[in-house]
Assembly symmetry: C2
DNA sequence: TATTGTTATACTCTATAACTATA
DNA sequence: TATAGTTATAGAGTATAACAATA
């Protein structure tokens, strides 16, 4: 096990960015023989695939979220866990995992870290000896409130980036799924 | 090094699904004291964050893409690499990496695998001794064509899932970024 | 038997650093 | 010195299997 404390989470919060361009600018395209290293090439059939653009936006959003919440060292996954525990005090790990589609095994390690930081507690469940009843500590509640404020800042930036109407359209469309 | 061959790529194509619910159905919510394990809990502040829904959609899209292209064992990242190489024959690894925002180091391993499968070639660059000129092999071209056909099937399914109008709206909004 | 939480293993992906060979 | 490609390492995330305790 490694030491706890705010200084050890440097690599704990990276946005996954596998395989999709971050920079979408329409770049200069020199003749095929000689391209500059920074030049963006033709996307080919990728250009017709929604998944490619969704992935790009998702990466941007996560990176911005991580950047915005970096003073608190709260990753998107950690924020989602704290949010759901706060909204459903006493729920079990299985329920939390089902809600957020996090594997049991991964959730254990995720919660271990949050527990080490004294943000959450695992209480014995009164009804079922196998379960833990999860809840935020007072510190966890304070941290979540601060995180929510920063997350709102992030959200405002996202809305500004997309434009107000597209933002609302996107939110409405995605919520239906 | 591990053995090559089509039978070893079983774990090579997983959609990242870190921290966001796959199942978005509006589930029954029993009284707080006793929840069923499968029940979906209240999302809390997560419900107001576009990033959460984008992440959910992105995971769904990747999983569907992987499922659809599983006969060819082509992951989303591999598809994007093959597409860009095909559309920009002779480009260097640096250019490819810049276009798709893939780290140099990761790209090396990605290309190694594709080269082992005889889908791509690394030719010496005529102009610059440090660079490789990338291109698809005939096998690679054939595979990409098949992959594009399957990817179109995937895309049609995605359009059907979202609805035609939201699909077009989404595509238009995301392309602007 | 099934479920909950846990540990362990293997692989992918991300982020760095360092190395080589070329420029 | 800078860049292109490579290798290596460490951490996060994913998928699986196995296990103990409890139901």
């Amino acid at each position: 096990m490694q030491k706890a404390g705010p200084s050890r989470a440097t690599t704990a919060m990276r946005a996954s960015s596998g395989g999709v361009a971050e920079d979408g600018a329409s770049a200069e395209k020199p003749a095929a023989g000689r391209r500059r290293a920074g030049a963006v090439s033709d996307l080919g059939p990728l250009d017709g695939h929604l998944g490619y653009f969704i992935r790009r936006l998702q990466i941007w959003v996560f990176q911005d979220f991580i950047r915005t919440l970096s003073p608190l060292e709260i990753s998107p996954a950690q924020f989602s866990v704290l949010s759901v525990i706060n909204a459903n005090e006493g729920l079990s790990q299985a329920e939390l995992g089902n809600t957020l589609a996090i594997e049991r095994a991964r959730l254990v390690r995720l919660l271990n870290r949050l527990q080490k930081r004294r943000l959450i507690e695992r209480l014995p469940s009164s009804a079922d000896g196998r379960r833990h009843a999860l809840r935020l500590t007072p510190t966890g509640q304070t941290t979540l409130k601060q995180a929510m404020a920063l997350a709102d800042t992030h959200e405002a930036g996202l809305r500004a980036k997309l434009g107000d109407a597209p933002y609302r359209a996107l939110m409405e469309a995605l919520r239906k799924l």
